[in-house]
């Protein structure tokens, strides 16, 4: 059972029960002839339409998806469609990064009395989908591997942070130690060229604290597990935004968290460092100057210039100093924000839709579903009940297809809409280097463009854009159906 071959395409409609479903009924009563492609799923409200349903349909064979609800202000539930409008618009702007033509998805408003309008909408949308033809499938796309250009210029000078007030920081932590369950920071890892998270409980632990370009992990990821306990955290500027976002979402309490900060001069892209070092047995020495880290491994010196080898996120970073801190050491650094397209996103921007589909097919093939990306994400808070393995709701299968893997990444990205601070831990954690951050970056860009430059993780009191609405949206305009 499916669409009629050669005649119809697969078009799925989600209609709210009160207005648009009624509008479609009205069109029927008026015998308003329409194309037969559309299959309507009745939902109580357009606000019920989780964007994931649309992704699910588009990934699994839909050539077009149409959502229709009550006109703004006419919502049966007073504001469901206002929320829907924001979420669906973000989705529409997100689709192209996956390689899906955004014209394959439309949302509109049709009242129960607007039979004619409904006829017009169905006819136009069906025509549009037929003009686009059958949707290309991810699994049919020839895998394509391309690498982001990391030759970037930072908004501020990047450095090795060796003059940071580490001793003052340690003193401040020691002073607070008795009041806190523990303080999270960084310590040396398996060698001097790697750090790992440090949980400080004793003055001896504090001695182990390090500061510098190897401090790549985001310690905020651990905070929700300490909910209800007094805890401290040492942050870089980017990490502090995660703390703010966790506060905003009530996942930690302000009075429970003490934030220690030093201005950050940038951190190393360990993927490129490790690749340059290759297979080595021992790190002999790590030396620093203002702009370089020199790692000597097995007798060979490797020099890493911070300006060349920093993490992608550091180049566009406008918050080297914590946006929120209780104990602020060192001199805060002011950076004028600028709209820099991050390298991963720039890579996708330069591709055609077809290439993007090929790109994701090629990239996701090697994903092992280890979910390091998810677990490294400070904003991923479902933990024990992630829908990746859930049967109720049963969004995903355990199949090892690129489609299922990309679907998970899409779920993650959409769930992070308006919440992702771009810390990049998902991508850093990926053992096989899939540039999944690009999906989050596209969401963040869409959110910023739609909601007055909104950037998550700056103010704890902000209402996240997708949890609010304006009756009249400044940047979301109803598309005409002429």
């Amino acid at each position: 059972m499916s669409v009629l071959d050669g005649k119809e395409l697969r078009i799925v409609g989600f209609l709210c029960n009160w207005c648009s479903y009624g509008g479609a009924d009205t069109a029927g009563v008026a015998r308003a002839t329409q194309p037969t492609d559309l299959r309507i799923i009745r939902v109580p409200c357009s606000g019920r339409v989780d964007p994931l349903f649309i992704i699910k349909a588009l990934f699994n064979g839909a050539d077009g998806v149409l959502v229709s609800g009550c006109h703004p202000r006419d919502c049966h539930y007073s504001s469901g469609n206002f929320y829907a409008r924001r979420r669906l618009e973000v989705l529409k702007q997100f689709l192209p990064v996956l390689g899906i033509d955004d014209r394959r998805f439309a949302y509109t408003w049709v009242s129960a009395s607007e039979g004619q309008r409904w006829q017009h909408v169905v006819t136009q949308f069906t025509k549009q989908i037929h003009d686009l033809g059958p949707a290309p499938r991810l699994e049919d796309a020839e895998p394509l591997l391309k690498v982001a250009d990391m030759a970037l210029t930072a908004l501020r000078p990047l450095g090795t942070g060796q003059h940071a007030a580490l001793d003052a920081l340690k003193a401040a932590i020691r002073a607070k130690l008795p009041e806190l369950e523990c303080i999270i920071g960084w310590q040396q890892g398996r060698d001097a060229a790697h750090t790992v998270p440090l949980f400080m409980r004793t003055p001896e632990d504090v001695d182990k604290l390090v500061w510098g370009p190897f401090n790549v992990c985001n310690p905020a990821v651990y905070l929700p597990s300490f909910k209800g306990k007094k805890v401290g955290v040492v942050v870089k500027g980017c990490d502090s935004r995660s703390v703010v976002e966790l506060l905003q979402e009530n996942l930690i309490a302000r009075e429970d968290v003490t934030v220690f900060s030093l201005p950050c001069e940038g951190t190393l892209d360990m993927a490129r460092v490790d690749q340059e070092l290759g297979r080595y047995t021992t790190i002999d020495n790590v030396a620093y100057d203002a702009a370089h880290v020199i790692i000597t491994a097995d007798g060979v010196a490797h020099s890493f210039c911070m300006a060349d080898c920093a993490q992608g996120k550091c180049y566009g970073c406008a918050t080297p100093s914590a946006v929120l801190a209780d104990e602020r050491l060192g001199t805060p650094v002011e950076v004028t924000p600028s709209d820099v397209t991050p390298p991963e996103l720039a890579l996708l921007d330069a591709m055609t839709l077809k290439e993007r589909l090929s790109f994701w097919h090629g990239q996701m093939q090697r994903c092992l579903r280890c979910y390091a990306c998810r677990n490294a994400c400070p904003m991923c808070v479902c933990r024990d009940y992630c829908i990746s393995d859930s049967r109720d709701p049963h969004w995903m299968t355990q199949e090892a297809s690129a489609k299922e893997k990309l679907f998970f990444q899409t779920i993650h990205a959409l769930h992070l809409a308006g919440r992702c601070t771009g810390c990049g831990e998902c991508q850093r954690a990926c053992p096989v280097g899939i540039p999944i951050l690009a999906l989050r970056q596209q969401i963040a860009r869409a959110v910023a463009q739609l909601f007055d430059g909104y950037k998550p993780g700056l103010h704890p009191e902000d209402v996240p854009p997708l949890l609010g609405y304006e009756v009249v949206e400044q940047n979301i305009h109803e598309r005409d159906w002429k």
């Binding site: 059972m1 499916s2 009629l4 005649k7 119809e8 697969r10 799925v12 029960n17 479903y21 479609a24 009924d25 069109a27 029927g28 009563v29 015998r31 002839t33 037969t36 299959r39 309507i40 799923i41 009745r42 939902v43 109580p44 409200c45 606000g47 019920r48 339409v49 989780d50 349903f53 699910k56 349909a57 990934f59 699994n60 064979g61 839909a62 202000r73 006419d74 919502c75 049966h76 539930y77 007073s78 469901g80 929320y83 979420r87 979402e249 009530n250 996942l251 808070v381 479902c382 933990r383 024990d384 009940y385 859930s390 109720d392 709701p393 049963h394 969004w395 769930h415 949890l467 609010g468």
Partner: protein
């Protein structure tokens, strides 16, 4: 499961363009379908009986009917399956009439589409679970917001029905707009004479508690159990002591206070009683104009008050009332007609609103019922009435008809002739809308008996002609010529909008409102006094333009709804509401932030914060379900898995 499928022919309505037998045949191959047939009329008595019989014969535990829109017959068939012993939610409908047979003639495509919609319904049904309603107590008291004629009627009907009523009125007196009118159409009987007794009934009714000078501050709770906070504004007069004797108003030295009751056609004292028949008949001090309150010296009213009721230190007071139902009857205000620069934008004293004209005609008005020009107090001879000022005018964003202006304009033209026999009235109109009982006859009388000159066309400009009169330039579209009238007085039929503060009140009540602030009824035809928030009803113009008879009728209708609601000892909640899976919930509060009804609150469960749905407040929109990333809150009967089953039925490549 054992599912039965019924593909309705609907006579030839469906069978004309859908091969119903074939659809039934295809449906037999669907999972869990053990029986499929294609009856002629499923909704008819034999059709329903056949469903019941099939449920018994084939031991069905779920039924799919493919026929017309579920908006039409879903309740019907739910009752059918319930009669046969199934839970009403073990039923799904496929709409193969409005969405298939009526919108295309291609038999092959229609049959295929119909079969697929049946598949959708089957897959949904396979994920359904029986749902049962919960019962809860009802607090049989009602809050009526607004003491205009609609609110008065609703309050009196409820009170007469034995229900305690809390009536909240923003102004110092009830009576609303009707109390300001001189006479009413089409009978030209005295407004005060017919409304006055009802107002007195309100004051005297043992079941009615009246709060005047009061506004609703906050509403929480749900149908049967609302908690309402009411702000009683400081009147600076202790009403428990005030007898309404008026001694204070006579002696008050501040006599230049704006007189809102008289539509600012005159002035009043800083301490005043709105009008002689005011209910409650109590004095109120206008703090902006009271010398004691603004300058700290005067105190005349306190000195003259025989009961010592004056209290200059009075503060606003919040009272809390518990009610089971709410009737909103907040009426209307005139739109700001100063946007019409061509009519002087409010700068010509002799261009007035029809409501002001009512006060000029009223014996209790500032002129004692003598029609005079505001500018010089002379009696006007040529009076021009301009209709649709701010109605049916998209250029000022008012596309709707205010409904009653045609009729009161005719009334005012007739009354003008009665007051000033040698006057001549002119009415510029777009269309005369007189559909009510005796209405058209009434306008004919204005034209034929009272010689009112009706000119079909709009006024393009009004300007002073230099010798104390106004030149009214217009067009007569029937004759196709320019018209110019020298007028002594111009009366504008200013369009209406929802009363000030309506959107804010709507948000407190969690009901919808349109872009003009009018409250949204649940269904424009079939549920005109209900809202989408259970237990909240509408009466009068707050829902949309209507005249007095319609407002009164709607007041009674709302009262009937309240009484019907209260006739039950227990209420049943709709089980199609959201439910929280406590294990999944991480208490991030996203659902609480989004819920349009405030139906989700934070609770503690085994020492952890969790979201909890207040079952009686939840209206079942499912916004929370699509907001929760954990899938921890699921809307019953539209869960993620249920909708996914439908998506998967369509998209599985």
């Amino acid at each position: 499961m054992r599912i039965g499928v019924f593909i309705c022919h609907c006579g030839s309505n469906i069978a004309g363009t859908v091969d119903c037998a074939k659809v039934a045949h295809i449906a037999r191959a669907y999972p869990d379908v053990v029986y499929a047939t294609d009856p002629m009329y499923t909704c008819a008595e034999p059709g329903q009986a056949a469903i019941e019989a099939a449920i018994h014969e084939y031991k069905l535990d779920g039924v799919v009917v493919a026929s017309c829109s579920p908006r039409m017959h879903e309740p019907t068939f739910r009752r059918t399956v319930e009669r046969a012993g199934l839970n009403r939610y073990m039923f799904e409908m496929a709409n193969i009439r409005e969405h298939v047979s009526w919108i295309g003639k291609d038999m092959e495509a229609n049959t295929n589409k119909a079969a697929e919609l049946v598949r959708l319904a089957v897959e949904k049904l396979r994920n359904n679970v029986p749902l049962t309603a919960k019962q809860f107590d009802v607090n049989k008291r009602v809050l009526v917001i607004g003491g205009g004629v609609a609110g008065i009627q609703a309050a009196l009907d409820c009170a007469d029905g034995g229900v305690p009523v809390v009536l909240v009125e923003r102004e110092a007196t009830i009576g609303g707009k009707m109390a300001k009118l001189d006479k009413t159409f089409p009978t030209v009987d005295c407004s005060a004479c017919i409304l006055g007794p009802k107002m007195v009934d309100v004051a005297q009714h043992p079941n009615i508690t009246l709060y005047a000078c009061a506004e609703v501050e906050d509403v929480s709770g749900y149908v049967g159990n609302f908690t309402v906070k009411i702000r009683k504004r400081a009147t600076y007069v202790d009403w428990s002591k005030c007898t309404g004797c008026g001694a204070c108003t006579e002696k008050c030295p501040s006599k230049k206070s704006p007189d809102a009751f008289n539509e600012f056609t005159g002035t009043t004292t800083a301490i005043s009683i709105a009008f002689p028949q005011a209910i409650p008949k109590k004095a109120v001090i206008n703090p902006q104009h009271c010398r004691q309150l603004t300058k700290g010296k005067c105190g005349v009213c306190a000195k003259v008050c025989p009961t010592g009721a004056i209290n200059y230190d009075m503060q606003d007071e919040i009272v809390t009332e518990e009610v089971g139902s709410i009737v909103a009857a907040t009426g209307y205000d005139l739109m700001d007609w100063s946007v019409y620069g061509e009519y002087g934008g409010g700068n010509y004293p002799d261009v007035i609103t029809a409501l002001q004209y009512e006060r000029l005609m009223s014996a209790s008005g500032p002129t004692g019922g003598h029609i005079v020009r505001p500018s010089d107090g002379r009696e006007p001879k040529n009076i021009v009435f301009v209709q649709c000022v701010g109605s049916r005018d998209k250029s000022v964003g008012r596309p709707y008809c205010s409904g009653f202006c045609c009729m009161y304009t005719a009334k005012q033209a007739i009354l003008t002739k009665d007051h000033i026999p040698d006057s001549q009235s002119f009415v510029f109109y777009m269309d005369i809308r007189a559909p009510g009982k005796m209405y058209d006859e009434f306008t004919r009388r204005a034209i034929e008996e009272y010689g009112t000159e009706y000119i079909r066309g709009r006024v393009s400009q009004i300007y002073p002609n230099g010798n104390g009169r106004l030149t009214v330039m217009g067009v007569d579209t029937l004759l196709g010529r320019q018209v110019e009238i020298q007028a002594d007085l111009v009366v504008l039929a200013v369009g209406i909008e929802a009363s000030k503060g309506s959107p804010q009140l709507a948000e407190k009540l969690r009901i919808s409102y349109d872009s003009y602030g009018f409250f949204m009824e649940s269904h424009v035809k079939l549920k005109p006094v209900e809202t989408n928030t259970a237990g909240v009803f509408l009466a009068g113009v707050c829902q949309g333009a209507k005249d007095i008879p319609a407002s009164v009728a709607q007041g009674s209708a709302a009262a009937a709804k309240v009484l019907a609601l209260f006739a039950k000892h227990k209420l049943e909640s709709d089980p199609q509401i959201a439910q929280v899976d406590m294990r999944r919930c991480v208490a991030c509060g996203k659902c609480i932030r989004c819920c349009p009804f405030g139906a989700i609150k934070e609770t503690e469960f085994r020492g952890e914060a969790k979201a909890q749905v207040v079952e009686t407040v939840c209206q079942g929109c499912g916004l929370c379900t699509s907001t929760c990333p954990q899938g921890a809150i699921q809307l019953s009967h539209a869960t993620d898995n249920q909708i996914l089953a439908e998506v998967n039925a369509l998209c599985q490549c």
